[in-house]
Amino acid sequence: MGSAVIYIRLRQKFKAKINEVIRIKKMAQIIAPENLRHRINELAVYHVTEEDNSFIVIDVMDVIKEIYQLYPDLDIQTVGPPQAIVEVESKKRKMMPLFFIIVWLLLFIGAGLTIMNFHEDVSMRGVHQKIYYLMTGKTNDKPLILQIPYSFGIGIGMILFFNHIFKKRFNEEPSPLEVEMFNYQQDLDQYVIVQEKQKSELKKHHD
């Protein structure tokens, strides 16, 4: 079996619980001869303990090391990302509903205030009066017939931009917000990989 080749592909990101033993089958896809695969899948790579941070980075080298100890003759090929991020699930991650309501109200009042500031800032009232005069030839200090549709239009415009009507969407394309969330998550992941790697390398040097 000396010339057997196995291929490993790490998962980019997955969740684990405290005290869980992470086995290879959980963190990677493996292509290997049938008899080897079951043995390799059950190999333990990492034991999550209380002391771990909320993120652990496992390098593909750690995985290879485990396999190498048992089967030094195998030809191991890696495909895909060189690290896997483990998100440690802790119990306190549940969010308080009260907290959520406060944030919601904060956004609600803040959004209302900013639109009022904006209107005052650009003399929206004067513009509306001017538009009213332009169309009807009469003056009206409070052209509500223009301003009420305008107010609802603001809401429609925001929803259109984010491509959501509450939960329904107009087409399958991701909204800019979803793309933004994705990019932000990628940046965070990249940061975690670099930071955690440095930390664990420091630890190894001290050992």
């Binding site: 944030v103 609600f108 639109i115 332009l134 009807t136 017939i145 239009g153 087409n171 917000l177």
Partner: protein, 139 residues
Amino acid sequence: MIKDVFLIVVGFSSGLAVGCGFVAFLTVLGIIPRLAQLTKTFRFIRAYEWSIVVGALFGTWVGLRDIHLATAPVFLIPIGLASGIFVGMLAAALTEVLNVLPILAKRIGINEQILILLMALVLGKVFGSLFHWTIFVDD
């Protein structure tokens, strides 16, 4: 005569600066591509550019002159709605450029309920605007 030439130069250059600024602002916020993407009409993006230019010119002209029509006030409803939608898209695009929601959602540990937070912003804008026009401004 020399005064007139000076005024023409000043007027033309300030118009140039304002026009550039307006287009730059719209480009940064990316509202036109977003609308084209929603309606799948990327082919007409040139026509949309012209729509912006003609609209800005028209607005400038009627804003500076004292011309007016004599139509019924009902026609103001679609105009109000359209200008509201445009302002709403501007506001949404600004929020998006500033990256507020992703960071906020991450901080307080929610991902699924981000829609509800979005609705807080949307409803806040609508009610803030309604409040402004109906109650806040004095007659």
